[in-house]
């Protein structure tokens, strides 16, 4: 898996974003998905933030894994170190964005702290090491996973905006119907899972 050809990276990207979608086939990042998908605007904001953070933390974590953990046989430490890296990175990012662009800070600001506890971010980093990805592959995989997560939440937000006018049995309103819809969309995504083999 050391091949760095464009085709290989593209395969990783497509599979992470679509056929192996982290939210719809792994059900990671579910809590913020259920809570935020109520509004389209917030969903796009959070989706962008998750994509950004997942891409960069996957890159950093891949470097840490390949450069330090693997050579010394310390793979067992990956969980705790990835969490430290993600938490610190999000903090740093928050300060940086506030300084550089107040507009972006206000657009993303309230979501950034939420991302630290988004399990999709940690999940992407762990899947990446399972598959022995290097730094470049990790970056692409992180971007694909984040983008896939954004795709899923934006899809759901669009459906939920339509649902506002639909008649739903009282017991299923809110999270109930959302989970059912997520399940149906997931079926669609899982159906393609064999098509791309990274």
């Amino acid at each position: 898996m050391t091949e760095h050809s464009a085709a290989h990276l593209l395969t990783i990207l497509v599979s992470a974003a679509l056929t192996d979608n982290i939210l719809l086939t792994r059900f990671l990042g579910m809590c913020s998905f259920l809570a935020i998908s109520r509004q389209m605007k917030a969903s796009v904001g959070l989706g962008l933030a998750v994509t950004f953070v997942t891409t960069l933390t996957c890159g950093i974590n891949a470097a840490l894994y390949v450069g330090v953990l693997k050579p010394y046989g310390l793979e067992s430490l990956q969980l705790i170190l990835f969490i430290v890296v993600i938490a610190a990175f999000v903090q740093f990012l928050e300060m940086l964005i506030e300084r550089v662009s107040l507009g972006l800070y206000y657009a993303l600001g309230i979501f950034l702290p939420l991302i630290t506890v988004n399990c999709a971010v940690l999940g992407a980093a762990l899947f990446m090491t399972n598959r022995n990805y290097g730094v470049a592959e990790g970056l692409v995989f992180g971007f694909g996973s984040g983008f896939g997560w954004m795709l899923a939440i934006v899809l759901m937000a669009g459906i939920r905006e339509r649902l506002k006018n639909a008649q739903i049995p009282a017991a299923l309103e809110g999270p109930g119907i959302t989970l059912i819809i997520a399940g149906i969309i997931a079926l669609g995504f899982v159906g393609f899972s064999g098509m791309v083999q990274p």
Binding site: Y72, S76, I80, L81, M95, L102, Y106
Partner: protein, 369 residues
Amino acid sequence: MGGAWFVLISTGVVAATCLVSAVILLIAERYLANYGPCTIDINQGARKLEVQGGKPLLATLMQQQIFIPSACGGRGTCAYCKVTITDGAPPVAPTELTLLTPEELKHSVRISCQVKVRNDLAIRIPEHLFLVKQFTGVVERIRDLTHDIKELRIRLVEPAAIEFRPGQYVQLEAPAYGDNPEPVYRAYSISSPPSDQGHIELIIRRVPNGICTTWVFTRLKEGDEVRLNGPYGEFRLTDSDAEMVWIAGGSGMAPFWSMARHMREHGIQRPCTYFFGAVAQRDLFLTDEFRDLEKALPRFRFVPALSGAENDGWSGEKGLITQVVERHLKDGAGKEGYLCGSSGMIDASVKVLKAKGIPEDRIFYDKFT
């Protein structure tokens, strides 16, 4: 080799990663979050402040002994700490949008606890806010009013006297303690009458996990020194002779206990009905004092009501306080409403009073949550 080596290098790698992260964050805080010295010009040169940037405007002004009213203590919910920023204002934050009207946005009114000082600012505040003072005092008495409500009596030391109108509130400072890293301010209505200039009394109900109330209930002792600032608030008796309807629950008793004693001292004979809501008999307090007050002020009526299911031996009013008001109040025309309590209670009460014919601009309250 083997075990020892593994433990050693594991520890080293974890420590190094944490260290690198911490150093990066510290450097970022030093350079990215450091906005350097800034000037704040107040009321076109009336005051000029040299401050360190990076903190919310409300807290920055407070450090400079300028106290903007804030009932929620800087959490961005009460919308009291409005100031007009005439120059240097950052873009409006999403947290401010819900609290400002389009009219206010047009006139650069901002929520000062949500605006960080990042550059030089020019602001405008009402002149009388310069009169708000910071007080130190000594706790003279703490007494239990109910199982979860305490009354604090504070003797003012510096300055030694306060001037306020009944209904106004002060902000009590809870110092850093336990898991609470820095002082926080919480608003409490003054329950003592203004005639007692050297003291103020506060009625404080325990809020589970509340920073300030936990401090009052578990740490504060008689003889301790406390700090507070004030007075704030527009909640007060009007100058009219209109009949009044007071509605309160729990520690919402405080401003009315101040107003009632003020009325007795000055022989104010306005007709008034005071509805006080509680769950059970153990939640009632100051009942005897208000019965005495009814004797001194013949047109004053005190109506306590219990909403709990099990209240054997209670012959008074039963039900939610809004239901009791609904039953008692015949016609609201020409009357005034005064409310103090949780935001839920206030919203429900406003609805009832409006339905009874009291216009919205004759219903007065300060929202604390």
